[in-house]
């Protein structure tokens, strides 16, 4: 009688262990297979975001903005997309995260391009104003030298040599 109870307890315990193992295995499979592979459309969309960001960067650069840091960020985004393509078959969750990060980086580049464009515009205006002012000043000074240079030179010469005693060469 006691032997039979032990046998039943053993069978129940074995059944529960098997059930537990099955549940754990299924949950692990569900986790691995849960992340769907990144689609070609998602990759294209991320690439489009990067190209759009590059267009913003180009606009900012044309306005005189310093875009070297934005170029570096775009390269980071490109690397993330390339990584997503490489790991898509083996690690779709990482590929999806890479694409998400790439899109976020591209969007931040678009946002920063606006301020770079504005800063570049101000710098360019200042540079233009400085250059044109310098050129105008040079022309004005040259005109003054041409018109008044001789008179000013002679006055300065006289002031410099007013106490000079003139002696005859053979005296």
């Amino acid at each position: 009688m006691e032997h039979r109870e032990d046998l039943t307890r053993y069978r129940v315990s074995r059944g529960l262990s098997f059930l537990l193992l099955t549940i754990i295995t299924l949950s692990l499979c569900a986790r691995v297979g849960g992340a769907a592979a990144v689609t070609q459309a998602q990759l294209s969309s991320a690439n489009e975001e990067i190209l759009s960001a590059f267009a913003s960067v180009s606009g900012a650069e044309r306005s005189g903005g310093n875009v070297s840091s934005l170029d570096a960020k775009l390269n980071d985004a490109i690397t993330l997309v390339q990584d997503a393509e490489e790991v898509n078959a083996t690690n779709p969750a990482r590929a999806a995260a890479d694409l998400q990060n790439a899109t976020a980086v591209a969007q931040s580049v678009v946002a920063e391009s606006a301020s770079a464009k504005q800063a570049g515009g101000s710098v360019r205006q200042a540079t233009e104003a400085t250059s044109l002012s310098a050129a105008s000043a040079i022309v004005v000074v040259a005109a003054l030298i041409y018109l008044l240079g001789g008179r000013v030179y002679r006055k300065a010469w006289l002031r410099l040599y007013r106490d000079y005693v003139v002696r005859p060469a053979n005296g």
């Binding site: 267009a55 775009l74 040259a142 041409y146």
Partner: protein, 159 residues
């Protein structure tokens, strides 16, 4: 120095000074160009493989330089062609692309990057064609820069 000579000298100096003052307003690069190079496994212009095994990866390096006067979005395409594949400075090759590399370069910047390539099919004098494309913001599309390079390879059976 007579008055005429002094006037001419003054005018000359004035023109030079004005030219120097407006330098920041002039375009930085009057002859824009890009550069494309293919380097061997030691990142030198040499040591290129003459023969590779089908299915086995081999390493080369690419070099891209930007002197366009502005940032450029480059794309390097590696294509596999044969003796009849047409490619020139104006025509890009109609051949399958086996590798793509994209990079943004600022003006007067260059980059060297690895090209991990694998050829799947055997063949003699297989042409590995390297083409440089750049993204045109105005047309929103990639355009062929006319820069290309090639490497002739014998692709042997897998070892």
């Amino acid at each position: 120095m007579d008055k005429e000579t002094a006037g001419i000298a003054l005018a000359l100096v004035t023109v030079l000074a004005v030219f120097a003052a407006i330098q920041p307003l002039l375009p930085a690069n009057n002859e824009p160009f890009s550069e494309l190079g293919v380097l061997g496994p030691n990142q030198t212009i040499g040591g290129y493989p003459a023969s590779v095994s089908a299915g086995s990866p081999f390493l080369l390096y690419g070099y891209i330089g930007n002197h366009e006067g502005a940032s450029s979005f480059y794309q390097l395409l590696v294509k596999v062609g044969n003796q009849t594949t047409q490619v020139s400075n104006s025509t890009y090759a109609s051949a399958p692309v086996i590798f793509t590399y994209s990079h943004v370069l600022g003006n007067n910047q260059s980059t060297i990057f690895p090209l991990n390539l694998t050829l799947s099919d055997q063949g003699t004098n297989v042409r590995l064609i390297f083409e440089l494309w750049s993204y045109n913001v105005t047309s929103s599309s990639y355009g062929y820069t006319g820069l290309w390079n090639q490497l002739l390879l014998n692709v042997t059976s897998p070892q």
